[in-house]
């Protein structure tokens, strides 16, 4: 094959609609054919608040994962963390878009991500804690993905068809995130003395933030089931610990909740970085 032919066939390959792109084209649009009007009987205010909160969890979680770029313990792990981050970014974008449709403001995904300050974010605080080492990252990923998976499995049958479609798509992604985290927790807990010590420390650091997840009932009116999700989170957390040889302490939960607007000191600097370019160039097109 000559260079020119090869170039042409590669260019054609990029547009053949068979999913060669890492984003955008060639993939199923999860909202294809879904009616975006809010069905009768659905509380638009509660729906917007839930989509925003779930979107914030995903965006902030993705930002923490992006901080592993070029810094992962092995190149294969680099690929995996990026995939997980990209999944979460995708979820955030869909959820923000839905928020803007429902809350009547017509705001788009970037308005929510770049032009709100920390006090307007509603993510759970576990998501915003600093990146930490790989052990803590895996403990946090397990908690967030196990809990979110349990929620999304139920929200896939939500009365709002858009949220239901977003959740259905997310279920497949989150199942992988949960497995990735659980596998690593077992390897680290059962690996070397150092890794076991670090994994236990990671579990102990994340543990007190789990109560906030379990107590969040904001999805209940929209097809969620806080008690069910909390039970599933606890079960996954404890079973993984058992398999990894870790102990689960009786963590006193940190008081307050990110869902009601309480923040740690870590969110503001995270957002400052995330929003720095966008805010430095008002009116710019990207």
């Amino acid at each position: 094959m000559s260079d020119e032919h090869l170039s042409a066939s590669l260019a054609a390959g990029a547009e053949d609609g068979e999913g060669r792109w890492a984003f955008g084209t060639g993939f199923e649009d999860p909202l294809h054919g879904v009616d975006t009007t809010v069905p009768d009987g659905v509380d638009a205010g509660a729906l917007a608040a839930l989509c925003l909160a779930l979107g914030d969890d995903a965006l902030v979680g993705a930002q923490r994962l992006a901080q592993w770029t070029t810094d992962a313990p092995e190149l294969e792990i680099e690929l995996a963390l990026a995939n997980i981050g990209l999944d979460l970014l995708g979820q955030a974008r869909l959820l923000y878009a839905r928020t803007g449709q429902v809350d009547g403001t017509g705001r788009g995904e970037d308005d929510f991500a770049y032009w709100r300050d920390a006090d307007a974010f509603r993510n759970v605080r576990l998501a915003e804690l600093p990146r930490g080492d790989f052990a803590f990252s895996m403990a946090r990923l397990l908690a967030l993905s196990a809990w979110r998976l349990a929620l999304f499995q139920r929200l896939a049958a939500a009365p709002d068809p858009v949220l239901a479609a977003i959740a259905a798509k997310g279920v497949k992604e989150l199942a992988y995130h949960r497995q990735f985290a659980a596998d690593w927790i077992v390897r680290l807990g059962d690996g070397t003395e150092e890794s076991a010590r670090r994994m236990q420390a990671g579990y102990d650091e994340a543990g007190p933030w789990l109560g906030e997840l379990a107590a969040d009932t904001s999805a209940d009116a929209l097809g969620g089931d806080a008690a069910g999700a909390a039970a599933e989170l606890r079960q996954v957390w404890e079973e993984t610990a058992r398999a990894a040889g870790l102990t689960v302490g009786a963590y006193p939960a940190h008081p307050g909740a990110g869902r009601s607007g309480e923040r740690t000191e870590h969110l503001a600097p995270l957002l400052e970085e995330l929003q720095s370019v966008a805010r430095a160039h008002p009116g710019a097109a990207w």
Partner: protein, 326 residues
């Protein structure tokens, strides 16, 4: 040749030469001259290292990308670079190289990577210009390598090239969008073009009359075109794109040559190229240090996984292959 000579050497060399002459692929377990193997390992390793180090200049912008769409694109792009590094290390391993050993050579400065990644990325426009110039130049270099004589390298390059076309397009598209934005954005784009143009031309290496290894690599069909030919192709491809974009390439000598049917252009500062290659570029030390730190900081994780796997194997008698069949 007579049948009484020691078996092999000549016949194997002849077979190898004939394979190359017929434009067929050399495959991992084939006999090959030691020089061919060494040259390939060096080239593939440098290429792999370039992908891995090349994640750094752009990777820093993922957390700051100014829209969620750009953030996704850049995240996926930098991830691709890690993937390309792995495809290439995988090809090098078929030649008997060991990835740990190659990584060691990178982080101790004994093996090189592309000089281009030793330049800084001070603005977000750099993300676009890297995609347009650097990935464009990489495509010029790499598309011919899809026909490289060594099979695993050629196949890795097919994969890489398919994915690079996304990289170049996203860069150019970002620049088009920025050029349609504010005056400040247009200035950012022009500034980035000014900074990256000459280093991009240097990516093709020294001029042909000063490229000692090129001739042999071309005879072996590891390399298919000369440095200067590829550089010319890049210029010819890029000038109309620059015009369309509305930026000025910083070369007063750049003009269309009717007779040649190609663009004439100025001579890059090859002394600068040599300085950067020899380790004295703006970011050499920073790039290698960062890679070394990541590798060393991750050692406990890699060791833990190996230790767990060893215990797991010890606990289970007999091979457990069921999980592998998906």
């Amino acid at each position: 040749m007579t049948e009484t000579e020691a078996p092999g050497a000549d016949a194997l060399q002849e077979y190898f030469d004939a394979t190359i002459a017929r434009d067929q692929r050399v495959e991992p377990r084939d006999w090959m001259p030691e020089g061919y193997r060494k040259t390939l390992i060096r080239q593939i390793a440098q290429h792999a290292h370039s992908e891995i180090i090349g994640m750094q200049p752009e990777g820093d912008w993922i957390t700051r990308a100014p829209s969620l769409r750009r953030k996704s694109i850049l995240f996926a792009k930098v991830q691709d670079e890690a993937g390309h590094g792995l495809y290439l290390y995988s090809a090098a391993e078929t030649l008997g190289a060991d990835r740990d050993d190659l990584t060691e050579r990178l982080i101790t400065g004994r093996q090189k990577y592309s000089s281009i990644f030793n330049y800084p990325t001070p603005t977000f426009a750099d993300v676009g210009v890297i995609g347009w110039f650097v990935d464009g130049a990489a495509i010029c270099n790499q598309v011919p390598l899809c026909r490289s004589s060594y099979g695993p390298y050629a196949r890795a390059m097919v994969r890489v090239c398919k994915e690079e076309s996304f990289h170049q397009r996203q860069g150019y598209e970002l620049l088009m969008t920025m050029m349609s934005g504010t005056e400040g954005q247009r200035a950012m784009v022009q500034d980035a073009v000014d900074r990256w143009w000459w280093p991009s031309l240097m990516m093709f290496g020294p001029p042909d009359d000063n490229s000692p290894n090129s001739e042999r690599s071309m005879a072996w069909k590891i390399k298919r075109h000369s440095n200067d030919e590829l550089r010319q192709r890049f210029v010819d491809m890029t000038v109309p794109q620059a015009e369309h974009l509305g930026v000025t390439l910083p070369d007063p000598e750049l003009r269309w040559n009717e007779e040649r049917g190609r663009y004439d252009f100025g001579t890059p500062d090859y002394a600068e190229l040599m300085r950067v290659i020899s380790g004295d570029g703006p970011c050499n030390a920073e790039r290698v240090t960062r890679r070394r730190t990541a590798h060393e900081d991750g050692a406990w994780v890699r060791e833990a996984a190996a230790a767990h796997a060893a215990k797991h194997t010890a606990r289970h008698t007999g091979p457990d292959r069921t999980e592998a069949a998906a």
